[in-house]
Amino acid sequence: MLSGSFSGNEQAQRVYGFWVDPKIVEERVITILDYGMGNLGSIRNMLNKIGADNEITADPLRLKQAKKIILPGVGAFDAGMRRLRESGLLPILNEQVLHKKIPVLGICLGMQLMTEGSEEGTLPGLGWVEAHTVRFNLPVDSKLKVPHMGWNSVKLCKTSPLFKDSEVERKFYFVHSYFVRCRNKDDVLLHTEYCYCFDAAFEVGNVMGVQFHPEKSHRYGMSLMKDFSEL
């Protein structure tokens, strides 16, 4: 882990007793993006539990060198987009995801931000996926409640390195009032059912998004995070 050369002016980080160049992010490290929204600690907890090296950062230098990125998010769409813009990280994030094709996993609001926009807000989304985020419109006489909150099972729609075992039944913890609708069926990774069938996850090349919270979904979440860490 010893770095190559670095000048005395560069800030060095002391990690495990070795000095490392802060611009070098190890291959196996998952970068959890801190842009002010999302339960970063919970995601870190689960990654630690499964032994996946990770770091929480808002540092553009670290993001520039990231090898895998998690985009968390809890809260409202416009607030999320605004925070992302204000963080100054957007240009680097777009470069990493759209040009360098770094694997990125969006969780909950993070997944929704990857779409073109949301009925929840007025700001445009990141537009990484041909999809829109829409509100649950339940029939007036429906006994079902919004938000969709609790454990629900998912159905795998295509093979994916994120779900190596296609036979296993999976359930995850959902909590959301808006959901993603992909225009291309081929982009949809998981379906789930709540009043109607909707897209619970998408995968388009290096861009992945899950509506549920893997970090709060026990073994099912751990399995997904493990597969993501092994990409």
Partner: protein, 256 residues
Amino acid sequence: MLRRRVIPCLLLKDGGLVKTRKFSNPMYVGDPINAIRIFNEKEVDELVVLDIEASKIRKEPDYALIEQYASECFMPLCYGGGVRTIDQARCLFSIGVEKICIQTGALGGISLIRSLAEQFGSQSVVVSIDIKNDWLGRQRMYASSMAKYHSSNWQEYLEQIECAGAGEIFLNAVDRDGEMNGMDLELIRDVVCKVKIPVIVAGGVGSLSDISSAFKVGASAVAAGAFFVYHGTHRAVLITYPTHGEINTLIEDTHD
């Protein structure tokens, strides 16, 4: 389809896990962290942790302890007790709490619910409402931190808190608390039909069929304390939770 939830509810006092009967006589049960670890291993749906004296004595949530609890939970954690400000909520969310449960804070003013919902989203705001029978047998709203009845009409209050942006209601039948003698199904039915948001119900679970009955009258989730913490007529402390197969049976019975 969405599964109904079965949620252990842990009460904290002085950093210890306690259990009450009809919201009185808290008895020490053990170290909360052990119970939380066991519930996590049993892969419970969700966990509610309530500090029952924080509002009473106006103390801050114990963030260090709560952060420790959150780090043991790979399921959603709801914390309640002494939350009155946005800053407290922000701190709790940052240390790994998914939802905040408020009662005293909301009784002090609906605006707290609105502010929390606007800042953090409705889904993270649970408003707790305790219902207790008065000496005339009327169901009245009970402000448990002050140990007295609140003057508000609970039906109107339910409407107000839903309008203000609460994501869930946590309904406690005070007289059934800790008795393990069955839930107040009529009360649950009355509350569920008044709101469009999910209702978590608590108070009186003594058997799996009590949980099933609550689901059948519309509860989105059932929380229990004594049932998951005590065993047998002598109330020996034993942490239990139904198996996933048993929960599947309860849910299938509900024909959702």
